[in-house]
């Protein structure tokens, strides 16, 4: 769809756009250093990409990490200090896996409210080895503590439950799941910021150890160190800055679930009961995308590419359906038709996805928007999606968090 068509369908919302002036990342990996160092590398890269002096940034928004002690809880100030105090307004946000998207949302809100012309958004993490675990202490009022104490239910356990459910309800197979990994690993091999840069075969997925039946090690995303940053500005600032046609963020969805939430979400031991109140027509995940489409004034048919949260291979197929790229239960067919592969109708996870990055929680949703930015600029090199005009991200995290960002050019 061309710009005119976009303007016609979302005309009243064009004033709601902010410009992406710069994007930057620190490569994902296990580097053994602190999150501040990674964040500053990403921030400096985004500022350089934008051609913006740090001292002219009016606001800095940090996506928090819970693994870095106090500096992690005040990430915005931590990054501002490391870059050199210059008086900017500061915010720090935490929203589990959606932290990065909420940081983008905060920046966008400040720009649209006229509180800042240029905002720096940064998320960085230094991940532990192995499973994520809850905070310490005896805390029986914390669902995240309870699911480990009572059930030993790790994050992959939930991914295993979702995958088995898809196999039973939609007929998905282990081979379908493996093909998601094969696709994403091929793209990740082309991405200099990805942690895993080797192509993977379906046989290698099948031969990897089962972690949480039916999922294998190569079906499940790792936890990584990494950082991503964006420089966002008002459209007016972008024009004055010599960027008349920047990538624009058109929608940021950060909706919560609707009671009763009938899909078992991390870290819960049970769903809400639907006995007293009938559930909404669509699931929480689907409502996240729906809100973004409505805000942007577009539909799934307009999307050129998507970056989705493939915490597991099976979850990527779920996102195809929740984003409306295909009907319910048709995710595996969409994959096998090649629609979501490079060169397909709507390539998904051209970055390589979490399969190739591993999760660096507060950075991940920002990294998704970095990939959209490079793709929409036509600057994604060997990964380039030809003719990319509209990109969408999708993400979900613990405690009722999720996000979807739509960017256009």
């Amino acid at each position: 769809m061309d710009d005119l068509a976009l303007a016609a369908r979302g005309g009243e919302r064009v004033t709601g756009e902010v410009a992406v002036l710069g994007a930057g990342m620190h490569p994902w990996g296990k580097w053994g250093r602190g999150f501040v160092e990674y964040g500053v590398v990403a921030a400096r890269a985004a500022l350089a990409d934008a051609g913006v002096d740090w001292r002219s940034v009016g606001s800095v928004v940090g996506a928090d990490t819970v693994r870095g002690g106090y500096p992690g809880y005040v990430a915005g100030a931590t990054f501002a200090r490391a870059l050199g105090w210059q008086g900017a307004r500061v915010s720090s946000v935490y929203a589990a896996c959606a932290s990065g998207a909420q940081a983008i949302s905060t920046a966008r809100t400040q720009i649209l409210a006229g509180m800042a012309d240029v905002v720096l958004v940064v998320g960085a993490d230094a991940a532990p080895k192995g499973f994520f675990r809850p905070a310490g202490g005896d805390r029986p009022d914390d669902p995240d503590w309870l699911r480990f104490r009572v059930l030993g239910a790790t994050n992959p356990a939930y991914f295993g439950l979702y995958a088995r459910r898809r196999m039973a309800v939609h007929g998905d197979t282990l081979e379908d799941f493996a093909q998601v990994k094969v696709k994403n690993a091929a793209s990740g091999a082309l991405n200099e910021y990805a942690r895993y840069r080797k192509p993977v075969t379906a046989d290698e997925v099948a031969a990897s150890a089962v972690v949480a039946d039916p999922l294998r090690l190569l079906d499940i995303c790792a936890t990584s160190d990494g950082a991503a940053a964006l420089v966002l500005s008002s459209m007016e600032f972008a024009r004055r800055h010599g960027a008349p046609d920047p990538v624009r963020v058109r929608a940021v969805s950060t909706v919560t679930p609707t009671y009763p939430n009938t899909v078992l979400d991390l870290p819960d031991i049970a769903t809400d009961s639907a006995a007293a109140v009938a559930p909404a027509g669509r699931t929480f995940r689907a409502s996240i995308a729906r809100a973004a489409y409505e805000e942007a004034g577009i539909g799934p048919e307009d999307v050129s590419l998507a970056e989705v949260y493939d915490l597991s291979t099976a979850l990527e197929l779920q996102w195809y359906e929740d984003l409306g790229l295909c009907g319910e239960g048709e995710g595996a067919k969409l994959l096998h038709d090649g629609a979501t592969a490079p060169g397909g109708r709507v390539p998904v996870n051209s970055s390589g996805g979490l399969a190739s990055f591993g999760e660096a929680v507060p950075a991940q949703a920002i990294a998704q928007v970095c990939e959209l930015t490079w793709q929409l600029r036509g600057a994604a090199g060997a990964r380039q999606v030809s003719g990319a005009r509209v990109g969408v991200t999708a993400n979900q995290g613990l405690f009722g968090h999720g996000s979807s960002v739509i960017a256009v050019r």
Partner: protein, 148 residues
Amino acid sequence: MSRTRTPVVANWFTGEGEGFRLLGTRCSACAAVFFPREDVHCRNPGCGGGDLAEAPLSRRGLVWSYTDGRYRPPEPYVSDPELPWRPYTLIAVELEAERMVVLGQAAPGVHVDDLEVGMEVEVVPGVLHEDGETTWTTWHWRPVGASA
């Protein structure tokens, strides 16, 4: 020395044998059911708030999904690092009357190969782990008809 039997979480389940039940709560104003129990505030956004009374959940339900843990989970899950890890099975069970899905470990000896989505299971008393003075009790799901 005999150990004291203590529930891993107080007031989440009660009873023995056939009389074993998970305990939720029900709102007197809107009839919403909660597990884990809500004892102070009803979470139905359309409810003005009522008294929350203890309500035993259905004993039986249908398997919504299942998985297992092939690797030792981190603390606060308790396991003996000196012993080899023995995978356990997790079952998510759909309760028809309550219209909700409740997760639990499977009874010992129940493996993923023994399960199918839609299979009928029942809640039974179980042991999570034991230490010097205490047997920590929990609930388990077990296929109906399987022997204890």
